[in-house]
Symmetry: C2
Subunit: 693 residues, 2 copies
């Protein structure tokens, strides 16, 4: 576990130590002194006997012990040599702040690789290059030159920030501190020649004092490391929130010029995060938004939301936002309404959201009267108190006390919203999270509820691998018969069909499968048969089938036949697919089907193994989801059957273990609830075959 | 123009004047003194000779002149009597602060109506009841008891706030002042027994000094008043931004218990705002967000967006957000790249977003070097400077000067983003809008560009009314033949069809319209014929048609016939519709069609008259819009033809002038680009007929 030395080094050398506390080589010394680092500090500078009042050494070799950690703050080739020296001396972790490597082209990349190689050879871990470094405010080990620890005094606390970008690590730190969060770890990994954000996260999630982990990522190099970290964190109810930038095509392009990050399709990231209960934030502000709510310890059981305000307008807007954010807005039962009616002025309505009206001016105890009613009657999981205006005559400290008492007594998750900083302050003093904007308070509560749900979930286990009687061959694609057979073996219901090698067989197939059938060429060399005119739909006589056979057969390689399948019409055509992502492995797609799948992009991805509930969740997020429900006198569609197929396909992808590159089942015919779903077309691509031209 | 007296009263009486400057009847006097009101102030209080040092009167009748405006700050029935007294004395505007009227049930509503009636009879305008009143900081006429003018000193400026809700008027005021906006008008209209937000807005848009109008609405009682105000404002390039709360079902429910607001379908509001160039904000924060950008005078011609930052991460996130917000991210041409390359350190990439890198620490003039290149080469309409972190070593005042110089010299719209308040302050000092959040800065720029575009647009003019040979009758629905005829007269292409009253005619119709036809019952008494089994599709022989005729005819009233229409298959089935909204009048719908229109809700509404560009804009916002483009080897769909049909339907709705309640054209068959679109089914509902059971 050499990475432990990155986080808790017992001794730190600074190669290129500077007497100027605001130079790259000076800041770590300034910060370690300021933040009470108790280990040994060894400035290395051949030109000085002392640096910032501490005895200096001419080279890393002269330092009296092999330091756990060495900061490299010398320029260009000197940095490469310094890394080699450190490796030789038994340093456990080198933090290379120097830039001008992988981010500036081929030559820099080569130098970076040399640096990494010499570290690897010696078993030394390398952070950076081109990084702002590591900071641990529990120990004062600040091997980091970020400006911001000079501007905003650090305070050890339960939050850890790990970021590829140095500037972003500081921006997140600023925002976290503005939100009243105390931060223990601030690490920036830069070019990630060796140590990645995920590596550090995997170490940090094991620290008992850490209760919230915030990540900024542009690339996920080894998803399995992050996955393990996330599962460990889930095991101890430790939330991880992450910004993964480069979510759009433009963002990916910008990211590659920033850190040379590898791109995966963005929805795979969503699927990965969902699977591992990592909540995704759009930007640093969203990253810290729910921080206090997490740390307050609340893990709401549901999304029942109540808003309480002294303004009717806030109530109307809260109702709007609740619906948009997917919060439930429960109606109060009659007993609760009666109790509220007794507590409120006669002209107030005991409804949710609850407007206590301007009467709060005459009766400062009004919030204190209604909140316990909401708590005792257990009407909500989440509560927002919105105070859009206050001033002379408003007893805000009392409002804050009453709210804190409510949270304390009933264990509900509470957020306050008030545009006036002085109003928020009264609540913040009592540890209540306060937001300038009502919508943000609600979004934070929504996040807490959603993430709590993810953290409670048991991740799906891998099912027993299906028997993989995989047809031999080297063609890129399996023919449709083989594709359907493999799916059927995997437990996916497929349309009834026969492979016919002569006309008599085709005629017999019609007699068995008619009155309406489809005839298709079945050849591994013709994966896209529709475009070749080798599909006939809706054939209704033996003669038509025989004709189709006679027309198609001569156009196929001699060993290939023709597929006759029962023609079925489902209520809706969906699509199912799978492919192997180079980084994330098998990925399953469920979506609205047909030829417009790619144009409309109404699909979701899932990472196997997953279970039926996960698949149903993905289906419910499709834009066409309303069509799955009972509608216009028609019964609901068989969502469960589709979910079941998706789970089977996911398990199969794992079971096939890299033999299959992609699976395309489009369309999947879906029938009425209880009547199932059927794969009516299938195309399986072998792994390792030459790609399609 | 008695409402002018509401905004610039020459004299103000306060009925129920209080010596306590923090009571409802005391605050207006406190504020008028503080904010330099020069007109006469007449406190009315039978128990005092003086109120807050000003001579008081026992009754409104004893005031030496009829005051322009009277504040009513007495309780309950006394307020009703005070309104009557004011009306009798010739007061021009009464501002009734008293609550307990329309918002508390039937009895209160009746009292409110009596109050309004006595005002109406005397030609006196009534603001409120249950309102916080009117405030004009240009004149100091503050007939308003809001707490906030005591908490945050008002400063006359170019912004006007008009809100139904008093608390919300204050919240908006707080946020506007936090954003550095100086506010002239703050009005809250409460129950709107007479004067509405729209009435006041219509007056305010005529004030030359007003350059930004912010509205909060829960109901739009008379859209035509707001429409006129908006068109006047558009004529002078005056932006109006509005929150219309109650956008969701839950919000509407909450709003009705707040001010008894009438509900219209929310998308009609969107259509209305779009038509009249009113930008819609989700909440008070969004309402003020772009304020400074508007006031800076920029009206960008397009959405070409450039981001400049000292952080690569900010650049990546800006690229993501640009794509999500619909901002264009232009590539720099080679000459610009060359100039940037010369200005930037070698390891920087001259791409958009532009990362000047940490080199800004060594060269504080770097922003000042690159910004003029971007300006001279005219590469953008909108620019964001993002500084996620600064501190010792960052010459922020210089960054601010260079940015201000750029804006001044090139007239571009510029927003700054920095999470540190002290960084923002340097820019704000120079009048540059600064945001804590990059995404918000970008959203504000996006709003400015979009709204500028709307403000430049000429509103569509009403086309000459089509000849309305409307069939006589009293049935709720026209039969399909009459419906199609009316549409055809209105210039909407309809499928070729014949009305057949005997079998011979049906046979002749087949010969004329075959080889494939549809046969449908055609009766005004059977509007939903499919459900009755009175439609046959895909008939391919004269005999089948004759059989359908024989089957259908006996099931129809004797005067009705059978429609035979050519069966056409478009590439896509869309839907077109129209109805008369009780508040907004004719509304046209364009959307993805078929029976799932209502479940999928993939449609947009337009208020006629509108032109083809408006209709194309609405089509482009549909989720199915990607299918309109050339795709998978198929040509684009004929969007123009659909847009043309929508325009014709809108003009027809205006031309029919209230004869028609609704029109349903579903499906509209759309063909390849150039090949048009056809109405293949139509159902027109008469206005004023008994509603369907």
């Amino acid at each position: 576990m050499t990475l432990r030395a990155a986080l808790e080094p017992r001794s730190i050398a600074i190669v290129g130590a500077s007497d100027n506390p605001h130079k790259v080589g000076g800041r770590p010394i300034l910060y370690m002194k300021r933040y009470g680092y108790r280990g040994a500090i060894y400035p290395v500078n051949p030109g000085r006997a002392e640096v910032q009042g501490i005895k200096a050494y001419a080279s890393i070799g002269e330092v009296p012990e092999a330091p756990d950690l060495a900061v490299i703050a010398v320029a260009g080739d000197e940095a490469v040599r310094a890394v080699e020296d450190c490796a030789r001396c038994g340093v456990k972790v080198a933090v290379v702040m120097t830039s001008g490597f992988g981010e500036v082209g081929a030559e820099g990349k080569a130098a970076q690789e040399r640096m990494a190689a010499s570290a690897r050879a010696a078993g030394m871990r390398l952070v950076g290059p081109n990084c702002q470094g590591l900071a641990n405010f529990a120990t004062g080990a600040v091997a980091n030159f970020s400006t911001i620890f000079h501007e905003i005094e650090a305070r050890d606390g339960p939050v850890a920030i790990v970021s590829q970008s140095g500037a972003c690590s500081q921006a997140i730190y600023i925002l976290a501190r503005q939100r009243g969060l105390d931060v223990r770890h601030v690490h920036a990994t830069g070019n990630e020649a060796d140590v990645t954000v995920a590596d550090l996260a995997a170490e940090i999630v094991q620290e008992e004092g850490v209760r919230l982990v915030l990540l900024y990522l542009e690339a996920i190099q080894r998803p399995e490391v992050l996955a393990r970290a996330a599962e460990f964190a889930r095991g101890r109810d430790l939330p991880i929130v992450a910004v993964k930038a480069g979510r759009t095509a433009s963002g990916v392009k910008a990211a590659s010029s920033h850190t040379g990050a590898l791109a995966s399709e963005d929805r795979v990231i969503d699927a990965f995060f969902t699977r591992h209960a990592i909540w995704r934030a759009a930007d640093p502000q969203e990253l810290v938004m729910a921080g206090q709510l997490y740390l307050n310890g609340g893990r709401p059981k549901g999304r029942r939301f109540v808003a309480v305000s002294n303004s009717g307008a806030s109530c109307v807007m809260a109702a709007d936002a609740a619906e948009e954010l997917g919060l439930e807005l429960p109606d109060f039962g009659e007993p609760t309404q009666a109790r509220l009616r007794a507590a409120l002025p006669t002209f107030a309505t005991p409804a949710n959201p609850l407007d206590v009206t301007g009467a709060i001016l005459g009766n400062s105890g009004l919030f204190g009267s209604v909140l316990p009613i909401l708590g005792e009657d257990d009407v909500c999981d989440l509560l927002m108190l919105a105070i859009p205006v206050a001033g002379a005559g408003y007893d805000v400290p009392r409002f804050a006390r009453d709210t804190a008492e409510f949270r304390h007594r009933f264990g509900k998750s509470v957020a306050v919203a008030a545009p006036q900083a002085e109003v928020r302050l009264e609540f913040e003093k009592l540890g209540l999270p306060a937001f300038a904007r009502e919508r943000e308070a609600m979004a934070a509560l929504r996040q807490l509820a959603g993430h709590s749900d993810w953290l409670r979930r048991k991740p799906a286990r891998r099912a027993p691998a299906p028997v993989a009687r995989f047809p031999a061959g080297s063609e890129q694609f399996l023919n449709e018969f083989d594709s359907l057979s493999l799916l059927a073996q995997a437990g996916i219901p497929v349309v009834e069909h026969r492979l016919c090698r002569d006309e008599a067989a085709a005629r017999a197939a019609y007699r068995a499968l008619g009155p309406k059938v489809v005839v298709k060429a079945c050849s591994s060399s013709i994966p896209h048969k529709t475009e070749q005119g080798l599909v006939r739909l809706g054939l209704q006589s033996e003669e038509e089938v025989a004709q189709a056979f006679r027309d198609f057969k001569p156009r196929l390689p001699p060993e290939d036949g023709v597929l006759v399948a029962r023609q079925v019409a489902g209520r809706r055509e969906l699509a199912l697919g799978a492919r192997v992502d180079p980084l994330f492995g098998p990925v399953v797609l469920v979506g609205d089907g047909g030829i417009y799948l790619e144009a409309l992009k109404d699909f979701r991805l899932l990472l196997p193994p997953f279970n039926e509930a996960d698949a149903l969740g993905a289906l419910s997020e499709l834009r066409v989801a309303p069509l799955f429900e009972a509608l216009r006198g028609k019964p609901a569609l068989d969502k469960s059957a589709v979910a079941h197929m998706a789970v089977a396909l996911g398990d199969a992808m794992l079971g096939w273990g890299g033999t299959v590159a992609s699976v395309d089942v489009n369309p999947v015919m879906v029938f009425d609830s209880g009547a199932g779903a059927l794969a009516v077309d299938a195309l399986i691509e072998r792994a390792g075959a030459a790609p399609a031209p």
